[in-house]
């Protein structure tokens, strides 16, 4: 069993390598095709043409494009992603400093999306055939059509501006210390024993995480409901009913277990999409993660940084999808035999 799973993971990772190579080459090509000169940008505005030429040579920009790509790829494999032009710091370490905040947000949002999705899906299924069914139907369509960008703004407006119950800027109240141990603020604040920082970080996480979670829960809701419908056509449900089990026991004890598998797979795929959705939510709530770094880099045409962040998003999404595939095999006994 373990050997099969390890083999499977290895095979998936191997399959991801060519995709990553093509993606990184595309990213490199697109960004190099831009009418922006990184050499001129990294020098002060009064630099002479000769100085810019010298800088171009130093940065390897005078060589043919494929050669530049190979140089960049070699550096990237050694963890050297080049210097951010705007911030004059190593692009790799800038990403490493902001990635944990983004992961923290994505995981919190995914947990919420899962809870809301499963809860809502069970509820939608329970009201089947009653007068509430069309209401629930319409409700889930409206939910489905609101993207995280709008949720972020709506929640900010209602809870931050009108009711003023929750903070909506940054990841912790100003004035409180921000410890850097693992980069995950919730964990770090506990490690230094500051419960006030932890509480503030939790409060700051609520609105962004709920906005993102709400946007991704309706898909989970609808898939759970339709797989429950499928499961209820199976013989073992009729049999359970004949044995005199209560509806509640049939739903939670028998049907849910079998309907959960396709739902979890879908939730995994959703997690990949949700991860890139953090970008917008971060910008709306000025949350100091990778998304805000990306938008700053894009505004300043900071090519090395854009390239590094872009690649990081692709790698994380690929990793999530690989993990989901593997989990699917582990969870589904039917696939294990092969």
């Amino acid at each position: 069993m373990i050997a099969t799973v390890v083999q499977l993971i290895l095979r998936r990772l191997l399959a991801a390598i060519p995709i990553l190579l093509v993606v990184s080459a595309l990213l490199f090509g697109v960004l190099r095709a831009l009418p922006v000169d990184p050499a001129a940008m990294s020098l002060p505005p009064n630099a002479t043409i000769a100085e810019i030429e010298a800088k171009r040579r130093e940065m390897g920009l005078d060589r043919p494009l494929p050669e530049q790509y190979v140089i960049w790829l070699r550096g990237a494999l050694h963890g050297d992603f080049g210097q951010s032009i705007q911030l004059r710091r190593d692009a790799g370490s800038l990403v490493a400093a902001t990635l944990p905040a983004t992961i923290q947000l994505a995981v919190a949002a995914m947990v919420l999306a899962g809870l809301l999705g499963f809860g809502g899906g069970l509820l939608l299924f329970r009201v089947r055939g009653t007068v509430l069914e069309p209401v629930g139907d319409l409700f889930s369509i409206v939910l489905l059509s609101i993207p995280e960008f709008l949720w972020g703004l709506i929640l900010l407006f209602v809870f931050g501006v009108v009711l003023r119950v929750l903070p909506f800027t940054g990841q912790v109240a100003p004035g409180l210390p921000v410890p850097h141990i693992t980069g995950f603020l919730l964990l770090d604040s506990l490690l230094i024993g500051r419960l006030d920082v932890f509480a503030s970080a939790c409060r700051h996480l609520i609105l962004p995480a709920v906005a993102l979670g709400l946007a991704f829960s309706p898909t989970i809701m609808r898939v759970l409901r339709s797989s429950l419908f499928d499961v209820y056509h199976e013989d073992y449900i009729t049999q359970a009913r004949l044995r005199g089990l209560s509806e509640r026991k049939i739903l939670l004890g028998h049907a849910l277990k079998n309907a959960a598998l396709p739902t979890i797979t879908l939730a995994g795929v959703q997690f990949g999409i949700l991860f890139s959705g953090t970008l917008l939510v971060e910008v709306i709530y000025s949350y100091p993660g990778m998304g805000n770094l990306m938008v700053d880099a894009v505004r300043n045409a900071d090519l090395p940084l854009i390239q590094t962040i872009g690649l990081t998003y692709c790698v994380v999404v690929l990793l999530i999808n690989t993990t989901v595939d593997t989990l699917y095999v582990i969870l589904n006994p039917k696939l294990r035999v092969r």
Partner: protein, 285 residues
Amino acid sequence: MRGPLGRALHSPRVLIALGMIACIGGCALFAGIIAPHDPGEQNLLSILSPPAWSAGGDSGFPLGTDSLGRDVLSRLIYGARTAMLVALFASLGAMIIGSVLAHIAGYFGGALDWIIGRLVDVWMSFPPVILSLILMVGLGVGLSKVILAIVLVDWTRFCRVLRSEVMIVTRNDYVAAARLLGFTHWQTIVREVLPATLPLLITLVSLEMAIAVVVEAILSFVGLGVGADQPAWGQMIADARQYVYQSPSNLLFPIVAIFLTVTAFNLLGDGLRRTLDVRLTEIGR
């Protein structure tokens, strides 16, 4: 085709959605007549004034003014023009590229199908938001650039969903019969395959319009959308976000505008999907 489309026009969802879209489209089309002010006109003496009905409001600015004293109502109306233009042209562009490739891949199969399939795979391994931001860096700001970026990101949505539909349609006997009658490949695709995939195509276009409106708002919000001289809902949100305590209503109006537009297009898509009997298992977001 008359049958199913006629049926669609009797669905309440489609009718309500079309009514909403007609209102927004009317604002977009006749912005110059409806809007009380020039959307770029600055009144620095009355900045961030509240809506006319609240205390301190100015009846000259029905929904108040923004941080530069520009009339919010006029900017909302002109913003509808930006949103509708993007929705229309971006979704049509993505539809054309995506469906041409889908019909080629699904109809011919084989190596062409493989190449187009891999292209879609690689394209989709970029998260859409990231890809559109990167494209905007290269293209620069402007209405046509926003449209182009959305087309370049979203053609895969059409391609992936339509390809499998084309494959199913191509297996029908009447397609083989058309070939036996001496139709060229081109004639077969246009006269026999396309009419069968059209309901799905129309549904996808209306859903894509909703996506395009949101993406345009996002890009304008980030400052990489249409130019600063062109009013857009996303820009209004970015401006209002900075002065949210002084003038919360400025944040509310563009959100409501985007919400109504997106809901209208999604409702239309949902109504069409039901009445045209389209199998749409997974579209992705």
